[in-house]
């Protein structure tokens, strides 16, 4: 925060040239990018972070925005500074692929299991309607009605 004036100066110095074009340039948005990158010191998304490192990261993003960089350009610049871990969406190379594959696999397995269970249950009963139970004797029927009424009261 102490460095904010300096940051503004830097931003101005760097931003003067494209200033004319800035009206036309596609403005990336800080809140949008904040949700897609991490604060590395705190290990939480940047929008939640309040540490000095986070505010530096934010300053950096703002400078890039002022220079008319697009969201993907800014993310690439962040990666070149902080490494790929700065992105909140992990890359899918190497072991990290597991973060994408395993949940999908488990969901498929679960769906398969559920389908099997349903098939097993419905085939065991033979799909055909159960043999109709014999009608209750009048006494039983009356008792059942009485018990149910008592239960419902």
């Amino acid at each position: 925060m102490r460095r904010a004036p300096a940051a503004v100066l830097v931003a101005l110095a760097l931003g003067l040239m494209p200033a004319a074009a800035s009206a036309a340039c596609p403005r990336a948005s800080l809140p949008d990018i904040e949700g897609q990158v991490m604060c590395l010191v705190c290990g939480v998304p940047l929008n939640l972070a309040d540490s000095p490192q986070a505010s530096r990261e934010r300053d950096f993003i703002e400078r890039m925005i002022d220079r008319c960089r697009s969201t993907s350009q800014i993310k690439a610049a962040l990666v070149s500074q902080y490494g790929p871990r700065v992105l909140a969406l992990p890359d899918d190379s190497g072991f990290n692929a597991a973060v994408y594959i395993v949940p999908a696999l488990m969901l498929l397995l679960g769906a398969g299991g559920a389908a099997l269970a349903v098939r097993w249950w419905s085939s065991r009963g033979g799909g055909a309607p159960a043999p109709a139970a014999p009608a209750l004797s009048p006494a039983d029927a009356r008792r059942l009605e009485a018990e149910m009424e008592r239960w419902e009261r």
Binding site: A132, A133, P134, A135, D140, E147
Partner: protein
């Protein structure tokens, strides 16, 4: 003062815990697991009968399906009631 309070809490807690050993209640009371299980099954069955009626009346169940289902459910319910009677040792329905 503090000491007094501590002793009070200590004695109270001990008395509460030990009370069943001192004043034994002779009454058996309570239900066995079998009875509780049947009771639960009975209630579920009753509920199911009513649900089936509701499904019929809201048109989710066809009349034929309901008839078959209702007969089966009622037979099961009576069976449960008989088993309950047997467990309770009351007058078994003949």
């Amino acid at each position: 003062m503090q000491f007094f309070l501590v002793m009070l809490v200590l004695c109270g807690a001990t008395a509460l815990m030990a009370s069943p050993l001192i004043w034994r209640s002779g009454a058996a009371g309570g239900k066995g697991a079998e009875e509780a299980a049947l009771e639960a099954a009975k209630e579920a069955k009753f509920r199911e009968i009513r649900d089936a009626e509701h499904d019929l009346r809201t048109g989710k169940l066809s009349r034929e399906d309901h008839q078959v289902l209702d007969a089966a459910l009622r037979a099961e319910a009576i069976d449960l009631l008989r088993r309950l009677d047997a467990v309770r040792g009351g007058p078994a329905a003949t």
